[in-house]
Subunit: 212 residues, 2 copies
DNA sequence: GTAGGTTTTCGACTATGAGTCGTAAACTTC
DNA sequence: GAAGTTTACGACTCATAGTCGAAAACCTAC
């Protein structure tokens, strides 16, 4: 579960109370039940930590099968990447906490690597899909959207470019509204929204494809 | 397992001899054993059908968990995408056969969808990675490489462009050799090779990233 | 040996998309 | 109203990709 908070991309982890890996931080999850889909299982276990309705996107990341990933038992794990929009602040239990993905605490099992894999997957998708919809609030100004992209990608992006690129690809559209900027005044910003609220690849690569 | 054969992208399938799905075409695979990695398991089962040393690339595709994907039992399956270079012709058993991915026969379970997912994954990676190394012969002329890309992508690509793009990204390099073209004569073609024989992302997106 | 046919290579031109920058627009506060 | 702040937008430049045509380098046949 990833979300942009305080200008940084953060992951939701909980601190294990018992062995193995007591005290280490782990991803939410648990065992699969009979006749259950992996996605159903993830949503069920996730529900113990957050309100699942606040998860705007969920996709399978990969299945980890190293025999020694759990020192006490032979267990496979299928990891999912979940995204929460900026601004939502789901209620979470006491043993649970958001951690910046670039400063992870000691993690249980291979969960640290999984978080980084999720981060990288997200970074890729931000460039060739409308994945931003799952991180940004439902409506936003360009300055706000820019902050989301900066936090998630880890490098500067220009608002001018961001607007041109996303508007040309028909990923975002203006709502027609305006929103006064912060307390310092200034020209009110246009309000935008994502056209789609589910993942769509933005016709990725003109590369190598004939024009007509 | 995908390979370009006869100018088309083809998948290796075997025909089931017994229920369930008797007579339908299935992907090679089988059950995971204790203490085994998923990749080890795939290689072990694959070895029953082909010489695994001829598989130039293998990556995890996804895990399928629909409860009714196998009508007789509740089973999860983790699918892998394997690639074989053009020109190799692995020895395969009698019940096994290559099928063009765009004209699949009736398939067992959800294997048809898995093949299409593998095809789409490949098509994406051809555009933003050096994945071509796993489909092309170890050395090749531009005309040959073009045929590989056309077969895999499903649309025309220009040899001029292909060369410029892949050379600029430092994905391929000339070997210095030349190879006389087909029987009709003509200027001998330069021989190229991929720089890397393992998957590498080709610094994907200048998009949104500052130049300096 | 030369002429004609074939295939590949390469340069020139064009189109498009992206990065940068500066200025205008539209507000706030004093 | 003046000064300050923030956003929007146009103009310019650069990089990359698509297209086309001519030249290069070979073959075969006469």
């Amino acid at each position: 579960m990833l979300q942009v908070r305080d200008g940084a991309l953060q992951a939701l982890l909980w601190q294990r109370g018992r062995e193995p890996c007591r005290g280490a931080w782990a991803l939410p999850g648990g065992l699969l039940e009979q006749g259950e889909t992996l996605e159903e299982s993830i949503r069920r276990h996730l529900a113990a930590k957050v309100d699942v309705r606040e998860v705007s996107h969920l996709e399978q990341l990969g299945t980890y099968s190293e025999p020694d990933r759990d020192p006490t038992a032979w267990e496979l794990a299928t990891a999912y990447l979940g995204l929460v929009q900026l601004g939502l602040d789901p209620h979470i239990p006491d043993d649970t906490c958001w951690h910046p993905v670039d400063q992870l605490p000691p993690t249980a099992f291979d969960h640290g690597g999984i978080v980084l894999a999720g981060r990288d997957r997200l970074r890729g998708k931000l460039s060739y899909s409308n994945a931003g919809f799952a991180l940004a609030p439902s409506t936003f100004t360009l300055a706000e959207l820019r902050e989301v992209y900066v936090a998630a990608l880890g490098y500067e992006v220009s608002a001018t470019n961001l607007r041109r690129v996303l508007e040309r690809r028909a990923v975002i559209e203006p709502t027609g509204e305006r929103r006064p900027s912060g307390r310092a005044g200034g020209r009110p910003a246009e309000v935008f929204r994502f056209r789609e609220q589910r993942l769509a690849i933005t016709d990725p690569f003109a590369a190598l494809r004939p024009r007509r």
